[in-house]
């Protein structure tokens, strides 16, 4: 059995990560047979370990899913992905507070409403970001990186200082400027007066907005920030608190909910990309932009749609992680590195790779960090130095170090990730 598994390595059917995983489970099963007696507790420990690993992995996966689309399909390094998640988390907070007004029976279901709204808001923000900045930077990864990083800083500061005054000022500005342009755009000589019109409209609109800002400045109700720099609390509804007891350990409802949500998102994305007309167009543009354009696919629209989809998924992820962690202006930064790691390990442009990578990273992180691995090595009488080695890495900080080291080693062997793109598309 042991050697059978090894043979696959040469044929390249399985990646080393999966081999290791199979090997691990295999050795677990071996250890059960060896230790007679408390089989039940061993099985329970195995299921608990797997469940916890998968639940960590599913958080990584749901956070990385949107990025896998944006980075994988479009090749855009979006450093503002974490901030789109943060927008989703803040949306959850707002929806929660609105539902608090409705009272008890309704409050329990706020999360069901929050998810689609978070998706919509993050998707709209993403679309604005794509139309306003990123579309000018396609094919220039370094500039995209800097621009999206700047956007992430702007979004962070926005949630810190947003208030009615700012919204009113920006609203007036947009209304005057874009309203003016639309009105003037109907004139026949629009192409000729365009530059002059903008040069005239923009300062006027800005001046009026500033004047309004100064006028309304004194009204404290308008200048009170919505969220401020402090973290806000998102409380899971009662039915998501606590957990269900299975085989002697408790599965938290929140984790089950996130796993289910991840699966639904995954199926939804798969269905959209492979079964819908727009999905077909997205895949076509990914494979060959020029040819798709020649065949009449509106590539600009496809770009905006793809980016909005990726951003919307980030919004759902933000909604999910708000149930587990804190919601504050820098919530997104806690996840951005992990999500990039998942996408890079998984292989760019491949959803299956992202899934496997997220799960492996989650399971490895858990097994090493919780000391489960060291415990099992002890139970199968592994050599002492090996046990000590894993015991040394059995803290949260050190487990991260080890997982990073493993990832670096892995990328040395397979620089393009788990499932690299093959053929002509790989060059794009």
């Amino acid at each position: 059995m042991f050697y059978d598994v090894r043979k696959f390595r040469g044929e390249g059917l399985f990646s080393p990560t999966i081999i290791d995983l199979v090997f691990l489970v295999h050795s677990w099963l071996q250890s059960f047979k060896r230790i007679n007696g408390s089989i039940n507790s061993q099985v329970s420990a195995l299921i608990e370990g797997l469940f916890n690993g998968i639940s960590i992995g599913s958080v990584l996966l749901i956070a990385a899913l949107g990025l896998a689309i944006v980075f994988g399909l479009m090749g855009v390094i979006n450093l503002a992905h974490g901030e789109l998640m943060m927008l989703g988390a803040y949306t959850t907070f707002v929806v929660q507070n609105v539902f608090k007004l409705f009272g008890e029976p309704w409050f329990d279901f706020y999360i069901v409403v929050a998810i689609p709204i978070a998706f919509l808001i993050a998707a709209v923000a993403g679309m604005i970001l794509e139309r306003g900045a990123i579309r000018f930077l396609y094919g220039r990864p370094l500039e995209t990186l800097l621009a999206t990083w700047g956007v992430s800083l702007i979004l962070q500061q926005l949630v810190r200082s947003v208030n009615w005054l700012l919204v009113i000022c920006l609203g007036v500005l947009c209304l005057l400027f874009f309203g003016g342009i639309t009105t003037l755009g109907r004139r026949e000589n629009w192409e000729i007066i365009r530059v002059r019109a903008i040069a005239f409209l923009l300062p006027i609109a800005i001046a009026i907005a500033i004047a309004m800002g100064f006028l309304l400045n004194k009204i404290t109700a308008l200048t009170k920030p919505w969220f401020s720099a402090r973290n806000v609390d998102v409380t899971a509804p009662a039915w998501l608190r606590g957990g269900v007891e299975v085989l002697g350990f408790q599965m938290p409802y929140v984790r089950l909910f996130i796993i289910a949500l991840t699966i639904i998102c995954l199926i939804g994305v798969y269905w959209f990309l492979h079964r819908s007309a727009w999905g077909l167009r997205i895949r076509a543009v990914t494979q060959n932009r020029t040819m798709s354009s020649c065949l009449g696919i509106p590539t600009a629209k496809v770009d905006a749609l793809t980016f909005a989809l990726g951003s919307g998924l980030a919004g759902i992820a933000g909604c999910a992680v708000s149930l587990l962690g804190s919601v504050g202006p820098n919530t997104g930064q806690n996840y951005i590195i992990d999500t990039f790691m998942v996408v890079v390990v998984g292989g760019v442009g491949n959803l299956l790779g992202t899934v496997v990578a997220a799960m492996s990273i989650g399971i490895f992180n858990y097994l090493i960090g919780s000391g489960t691995l060291a415990l099992f090595l002890t139970s199968i009488d592994a050599s002492k130095p090996l046990i000590d080695f894993f015991l040394f890495f059995a803290t949260s900080s050190m487990a991260k170090v080890m997982v990073f080291a493993l990832i670096i080693t892995f990328l040395q062997i397979k620089p393009a990730g788990l499932f690299p793109q093959k053929g002509r598309t790989a060059e794009l």
Partner: protein
């Protein structure tokens, strides 16, 4: 071609200028509205030149960056004390003029701004800092200039400077009594959780020594990188190490606390079997984590908003009147509030703002503080009442235990081998900051 270029340049240039103006206008709007302390500094700067007879003091905290969340609350408390003193006639008949500087959550900036306050503004004292790192960064400045810093936050001890007055708790006024109380009421098996930096690691060293000395047991410890939110592995470790329940001692900081308590509840670790004692969660943090996750858990501080005393009623009422009904008061804010009063008393006792005279007069000052009676001792720390609070349904604390009278501070920890047997006394020139008892 060149004409078009110029026109475009004009267009974009004017856009840029006006856009920056717009941003500035709106930013100012939001500042004045929130009563944000940063914006009022400009107005108070102008005062001394006009009147010529104010007393300038420095306020040095992070008004921006990660620490701003916590540090702006103590600035609020300090400003409240200064306003109250000014309204009652000031110090030595003069008004106090606060000069605010922003440490920007960046330790070298703290040192720079401290030097600026001392050299350029000629302040007579500085109230400031929150993190130990920022205090360690400004310490050389205050020592070389023989100046004076008042520091309001509970910290890990192992420091005693002639140029600093510490009004927060030392470990023996917060951590050690909490461990004693837990040993007596909640069990002997402890699991230690903390963020991965100096305060939790020092605190846990102390706790481990203390448990070893008093018959308790450390069944495990783990540290989470700052800002990490995945605590599943730690929860598994807790369950393995404490299968039948036990005490969790928590010195996590910031965002990790939120994840920790949310996921604890999900994993079924309830406060009746797994009580968590926290040393960095006060009223303000309870609001941010969500009280649903914290009800029944414990925290150890010297002050809670729910302390019953006429002084505290007055403090809470004045604070809410100034900053809004929804605001809460907590331990570092109270320590910041009373340190301004202690300084005022010292100046009045000395009859001058001369730094050396004030430093001498400060030792021995007593004050009926919101937390109870405090006294500034020769080791430049203050005696404080120790309290254990349990989070109740409204997010405030039920005080379940309270020390009898104030506990004297021990800056050099007696459980740590390197500092055992050392003490600090600045009133005796032969003893100084660290002498063998």
């Amino acid at each position: 071609m060149s004409k078009l270029g110029r026109r475009k340049f004009l267009l974009y240039g004017s856009t840029g200028v006006v856009a920056s103006l717009l941003l500035k206008g709106c930013a100012q709007g939001s500042d004045t509205g929130t009563g944000d302390p940063a914006s009022s500094s400009d107005t108070s700067d102008a005062a001394p030149a006009a009147t010529g007879d104010g007393i300038k003091v420095g306020i040095l905290h992070s008004l921006s960056g990660t620490m701003a969340i916590s540090e702006t609350t103590v600035v609020d408390a300090e400003m409240l004390a200064i306003d109250e003193i000014n309204a009652a006639g000031g110090v030595l008949g003069k008004q106090i003029i606060p000069i605010k500087e922003d440490g920007a959550s960046d330790w070298p900036t703290f040192a720079e701004k401290a030097a600026k306050l001392i050299d350029n503004d000629k302040v007579v004292t500085v109230f400031g800092c929150w993190t130990s790192s920022s205090r360690k960064a400004v310490l050389p400045v205050f020592e070389s200039k023989k100046h004076m810093l008042w520091y309001p936050v509970q910290y890990e001890g192992q420091e005693c400077s002639n140029y600093v007055f510490y009004t927060g708790a030392t470990p023996n006024q917060q951590i050690e009594p909490a461990v004693d109380w837990l040993l007596e009421n909640k069990g002997k098996d402890f699991f230690l959780v903390g963020s991965d930096y100096v305060f939790p690691r020092t605190a846990n060293t102390i706790i481990k020594e203390q448990l070893a000395a008093k018959g308790g047991k450390t069944v495990g410890e783990d540290y989470l990188p700052l800002g990490d939110t995945e605590v599943t592995a730690i929860i598994t470790k807790i369950k393995v190490a404490l299968p039948n329940g036990g005490v969790i001692f928590n010195s996590l900081n910031g965002d990790s606390n939120v994840s920790f308590f949310k996921q604890m509840q999900g994993a079924g670790l309830e406060p009746d079997k797994y009580p968590v004692m926290s040393v960095s969660i006060a009223e303000e943090e309870v609001k941010q984590i969500g009280k649903e996750y914290l009800v029944g858990h414990y925290a150890s501080w010297n002050y809670f908003q729910t302390v019953e005393s006429p002084e505290n009623d007055k403090f809470v009422k004045a604070f809410k009147a100034k900053y809004g009904e929804e605001r809460v008061t907590n331990d570092p804010m109270e320590a910041a509030y009373i340190m301004v009063y202690l300084w005022k008393q010292a100046v009045e006792a000395a009859g001058t703002t001369d730094i050396e005279a004030v430093r001498k007069a400060a030792v021995g000052q007593e004050l009926a503080a919101p937390e109870g009676k405090v006294k500034l001792l020769p080791n430049h720390h203050i005696s404080k009442t120790v309290r254990i609070g349990q989070v109740r349904d409204d997010g405030l604390f039920d005080i379940v235990s309270s020390s009898e009278g104030a506990v004297d501070p021990v800056p050099w920890n007696q459980y740590v081998k390197e500092t055992k047997g050392f003490a600090c006394d600045w009133t005796d020139p032969n003893k100084g900051g660290k002498y063998k008892v």
